[in-house]
C-alpha cells in the first residue's frame, strides 16, 4: 500500500479536512464529531476510518466510546506541515514591521 499517496487522498476530501480541524483543538468521541456534521453518522464513521487507516488520526477506546485525536507525528510527514504556522507568524511580524516603520525613535 502506498501510504503517502493515501495521506494526500485522505486530505483531499473537505469533510475529512473539517474533521482534522475539529480534532486539532481537542480529542473527541465519534458521536461528538458526527454531531458537527449534517452528514449521516455512518458516513462520518467511514471518514474517521479512512483518516485512522492512514494514521492521520489515532483511535483510543474510552469506556464504551471510541475517541479520536490527531496524530501530529504523521502530519509532520506531510510536507509543509509547519509552513502554515510559520506563515501565520511571518504575516503577523510583517504587519508589525510595516506599522513600526511609521514611527521614529524618540
Amino acid at each position: 500500500m502506498n501510504l503517502r499517496r493515501d495521506v494526500f487522498q485522505a486530505l483531499a476530501d473537505p469533510t475529512r479536512r473539517a474533521i482534522l480541524l475539529l480534532l486539532a483543538t481537542q480529542s473527541m468521541s465519534a458521536g461528538a464529531i458526527a454531531s458537527n456534521f449534517d452528514t449521516a453518522r455512518p458516513t462520518v464513521s467511514k471518514h474517521l476510518q479512512i483518516l485512522a487507516e492512514c494514521e492521520l488520526l489515532k483511535q483510543e477506546q474510552s469506556g464504551r466510546e471510541l475517541h479520536y485525536h490527531i496524530n501530529a507525528q504523521k502530519m509532520k510527514e506531510v510536507a509543509d506541515f509547519i509552513e502554515p504556522f510559520r506563515q501565520m507568524w511571518d504575516n503577523r511580524f510583517n504587519k508589525l514591521e510595516a506599522i513600526m516603520k511609521q514611527y521614529k525613535v524618540d
Binding site: L11, P14, R17, A18, L20, L21, L22, A24, T25, Q26, N36, H69, I70, A72, Q73, M75, K76, D80, F81, I82, E83, P84, F85, R86, Q87, M88, W89, D90, R92, F93, K95, L96, E97, I99, M100, K101, Y103, V105, D106
Partner: protein
Amino acid sequence: MELKTKISAEDGKQEIRISREFDLPLELLFRAYSEAAIVEQWMGTKVIKLENKNHGSWQFATTDPAGNVHGFHGVIHEFAPNQKITRTFEMENTPFPVQLEFLEFEKLTNDTSKLSMQIVYKSVEDRDRMLALPFAKGLNMAHNRLQEIANHLI
C-alpha cells in the same frame, strides 16, 4: 533567500522557538510590544489591560469577522525594556492550557533588530496540536462552518 521568520519545533519537545529579524531599530521593535495603542494595531485586538512591569498582567479581547469576542490573558513575570519579556498566555474558553513565553529582544545594527521567542507548552501533545492548527485551518479555508471554530483559536 533566507526566510525572515524561522520556526524550530524539535520532535518530542514541548516547546517552539520562533525568531525574526526586523528592519527596525531595537527601540521601535520593543515599543510594538510595550505600547498598548501599537499592540492594538498590529495584533488587531483590543487591549483591555497591559501592565508593563514585573508581576504585571495583561488582557486582550479580539472580535472575529462574525462578531464573536475572544479573550486572551496572562501575567507578565518579567519586563526588562529593550531586553526581554517573560509572560504567560492563555486563550479563554478553549481546551488549550496556559503557555509560558520568553521573548528576547536584541540589537543587530542601528537599524535592525531581532526577536527570539521560546514558547513552552504543558505537554508535547499540546505543542503538536498548536502546530497543527494553522495547518488544518489552511486546509479548510473553504469550509465555512468549521472556519468559525478556527477563528476562536488563532
